[in-house]
């Protein structure tokens, strides 16, 4: 099994360019973990050996926004940190994707107060929302797979 059987004997495979690019892109995501709060604990779990996000080609964190293409916003975003998050997003190069990790980033969670941004989609576009407080590692993996699916099906600019 493997590639050899997939491509058959004649070493030629026809596909749409979009799909080929999508296939390549979805397995080479470089996350920028914007870790602020409790969800960071689950981010640690999910990226360490037990749950191993590396299996999905998305475990090598790049801490420079310019090298990253997936912004993982992990944890509550307060009014004070929000401009920083926006600047990090603006500094990333296209194509870029955003994962809202945890319910605080999705909606503000139960921090309905003066200090908390009620969902990061009020300040930047979000591709995948992963609910949970914090989400279990399995949920995170599912969220990542959903993003990969989205990238695969996307119309790519090249």
């Amino acid at each position: 099994m493997g590639l050899r059987s997939l491509f058959g004997g004649d070493n030629v495979v026809t596909t749409k360019l979009d799909e080929a690019i999508g296939w390549a892109r979805k397995y080479s995501l470089f996350p920028y973990p914007f870790v602020t709060a409790c969800c960071g604990m689950e981010y640690m779990s999910v990226s360490a050996s037990h749950y191993d996000l590396d299996r999905f080609g998305a475990a090598f964190p790049r801490f420079s926004p310019r090298q990253a293409d997936m912004l993982m916003c992990v944890g509550t975003v307060s009014q004070k940190i929000a401009p920083v998050l926006r600047r990090v997003y603006d500094q990333m190069c296209e194509p870029k994707y955003v994962i809202a990790f945890g319910v605080c980033t999705c909606t503000g969670g139960f921090y309905d107060n003066y200090a908390t941004v009620q969902g990061i989609d009020t300040i930047l576009p979000v591709d995948v929302y992963i609910p949970g407080c914090p989400p279990r590692p399995e949920t995170v993996i599912q969220g990542l797979m959903l993003l990969q699916e989205k990238i695969q099906k996307q119309k790519h600019e090249y």
Partner: protein, 623 residues
């Protein structure tokens, strides 16, 4: 009357307005003009020697007169005594003398009070906002500031105080302007922003560094990026409703926060939980402490480039999370503890699984000892680096592993034992030099001690009342609820509901073991709720808004040993079902306040291990 109060009465008789000994807490209300002198006397008096400013906070009495009360909590290592000093401040222009010249930590405590309450401190060297941003209008913890009153977001373009990062031109200009003379040479210092989003700043904190080459000359630490209004929420929700918020204070060891908060409310109510429950709290707290120390050391090692210990420790932590999940139903944010007990009993066979997992932890501990403790590369990076003197550590109000690394043998579990810690034999490891290496070694040893505590607790825990006589047969709890809802309660009380402890809480059989019998605080067992009118009424009385747990009027402070040090909850009750004021004394606040001192004179690269070693947890720091 305690000695301290007598001495105070003698010396400052005309400045003491009121003295009090309530629930074991000694307090004195003093004239605000004399507060500096009184605190200085208490600190410097040879007999009293209150050398640790544990906490400094404020209570806003809204319409009351005087409106604000500033609360100072002092601790003496010598006599193990504590005293509250309170100064009343009235509007308009609430102001009190600063004590930042007496204790370093008062600098930040006072900035926080200014930020959240708008009480200013006369003579404070640098009274800026601490948790909120400069553009924020008003003072959010004042009673007249509503919890959901949001203010417009500050955009990157609109900010004028280099809140995010100074532009290149700005920093160049600052550097051009800032030229100092040293030994006849003009030295140009460089300013560098570290954070708030930086790979080694786990959690969000900003450090503005002033560098001479690679040497750190000065620094300014900025916090508040994870301010989530814990204290405001706690004033706006029932006593039980606060537990989920406490989980998210120190989210690496949430159960300890749960326990600390529950004990503070129990102190107000004057109730003591059952023996079995105390040991359950000990066991779960220590499991959390292990998880916390594993995370701290693992992350610190990883930031130094040692990835392997991180992976090993994450594996060990996963074992702890599995145990926690088995008991509470959640991995991290557990909300397991209740006022008057815990949610449910330990599951069957838990003890043997704990022993298995502790074996794993010890194996990983041994591995990491081999990898790091004598590793030349690691030791060279951490020995003698980021050190702080004992006197400075106390002045910065350090507690926990950070203070013990400086050689002070202070552990809340020993000094003010709670939950039967006094019946358990364990050692308190102390260091000598107060550097990163000592902190690492203290934490490593504490993991081993926590394992010992858990094992002893299992030996001492009274056997749960798991086998009871009953004549009915077992039925699922949901079915019982359905029967109860339709009024088919005949014979229901005789039956035993099969409950899943992680989801449904405690059933009748274990209820008496893990929950206090006091109907003011404990929900009745599910069987009683569904099958008897008394149970139902009791349940509703505790659940309904305005009727829940209502501690008597008063205030209480309860400290527990969090993974980072003394975690205290100060609760003011006005007799209603919501706390009037909840103050959390966060242990790592002190470390971050003292961080500038710690890194002074270090190399830029030393900031990384130093920051890793203080185990800053933003949830607890910014609340």
């Amino acid at each position: 009357m305690p000695n301290a109060l007598k001495l105070l009465q003698n010396k400052f008789s005309d400045c003491i307005r009121e003295t009090n000994c309530h629930l074991g807490d000694t307090s004195a209300v003093v004239n605000k003009k004399a507060v500096h002198d009184i605190l200085e006397f208490l600190r410097d008096d040879a007999d009293l020697n209150f050398d640790l400013l544990v906490d400094l906070t404020c209570v806003d009495y809204g319409e009351g007169e005087p409106r604000f009360e500033i609360v100072y909590l002092l601790h003496s290592f010598k006599t193990k005594a504590r005293i509250f000093i309170k100064a009343q401040v009235s509007e308009p222009d609430p102001q009190v003398q600063t004590v930042s010249d007496l204790w370093h930590i008062a600098d930040w405590y006072e900035r926080e009070v200014w930020d959240l309450f708008g009480v200013s401190f006369k003579g404070h060297p640098d009274l800026r906002r601490l948790l909120m941003y400069e553009e924020f209008q008003g003072h959010p913890l004042r009673k007249d500031y509503s919890i959901d009153k949001r203010q417009p977001l500050v955009t990157a373009e609109g900010t004028n105080n280099s809140q995010i990062t100074p532009t290149l031109e700005q920093s160049q200009q600052a550097m051009e302007e800032y030229v100092s003379e040293e030994n006849g040479l003009s030295v140009r210092h460089m300013f560098l922003n570290m954070g708030p989003s930086h790979p080694a700043m786990h959690g969000v904190v900003k450090i503005v560094l002033e560098l001479d080459g690679e040497k750190v000359v000065g620094s300014d630490v900025g916090i508040g990026y994870l301010h989530r209004a814990f204290e405001k929420h706690a004033e706006n929700i029932s006593y039980t409703g606060v537990f989920p918020y406490t989980d998210r204070l120190n989210y690496v060891s949430p159960i300890i926060n749960n326990v600390g908060y529950a004990l503070a409310v129990e102190k107000l109510l004057g109730i003591e939980v059952t023996e079995r429950c105390k040991y359950i709290r000990v066991i779960m707290s220590e499991i959390s402490r292990i998880a916390d120390h594993l995370t701290c050391i693992g992350a610190m090692a990883m930031e130094l480039g040692a990835m392997t210990p991180f992976l090993y420790f994450m594996q060990a932590r996963e074992a702890m999370y599995q145990l926690i999940e088995e008991v509470t139903g959640a991995r991290i944010t557990v909300s397991y503890v209740r006022v008057g007990g815990v949610k449910a009993d330990l599951p069957a066979g838990f003890e043997s699984r704990v022993h298995d997992q502790l074996k794993k932890v010890r194996a990983e501990l041994k591995q990491v000892h081999r990898l790091l403790s004598r590793n030349r590369i690691f030791v060279d990076r951490v020995q003698g680096i980021g050190a702080i003197s004992t006197a400075d550590a106390i002045s910065y109000s350090f507690t926990g592993p950070m203070l013990r690394a400086c050689g002070v043998d202070y552990d809340v579990r020993k000094t003010f034992p709670y939950s039967n810690y006094d019946r358990i034999d364990f050692d308190v490891p102390v260091g000598e030099n107060g550097d990163i290496l000592d902190r690492y070694l203290v934490r490593m040893e504490e993991i081993e001690q926590s394992c010992r505590i858990i094992e002893q607790a299992f030996e001492k825990i009274p056997v749960g009342n798991v086998m009871v006589d009953f004549t009915g047969k077992e039925i699922p709890a949901e079915k019982m609820a359905d029967l109860g809802k339709f009024g088919q309660t005949e014979g229901l009380l005789l039956q035993v509901a099969v409950t899943d402890p992680t989801l449904l809480g405690a059933g009748e059989s274990e209820h008496a073991e893990v929950r206090h019998a006091d109907k003011r605080v404990s929900l009745p067992a599910k069987e009683k709720t569904y099958a008897s009118i008394e149970g139902l009424i009791n349940h509703f009385m505790l659940i309904m808004d305005g009727h829940g747990i209502c501690p008597p009027k008063g205030e209480a402070y309860f400290p527990v040993e969090g993974a980072n040090g003394e975690l205290g909850f100060y609760i003011v009750s006005d007799g209603s079902d919501k706390a009037y004021r909840v103050r959390c004394r966060p242990p790592c606040f002190a470390f971050v306040a003292g961080f500038s001192k710690m890194i002074e004179g270090c190399q830029l690269a030393d900031i990384i291990p130093a920051f890793g070693s203080i185990n800053m947890i933003a949830g607890e720091l910014d609340r």
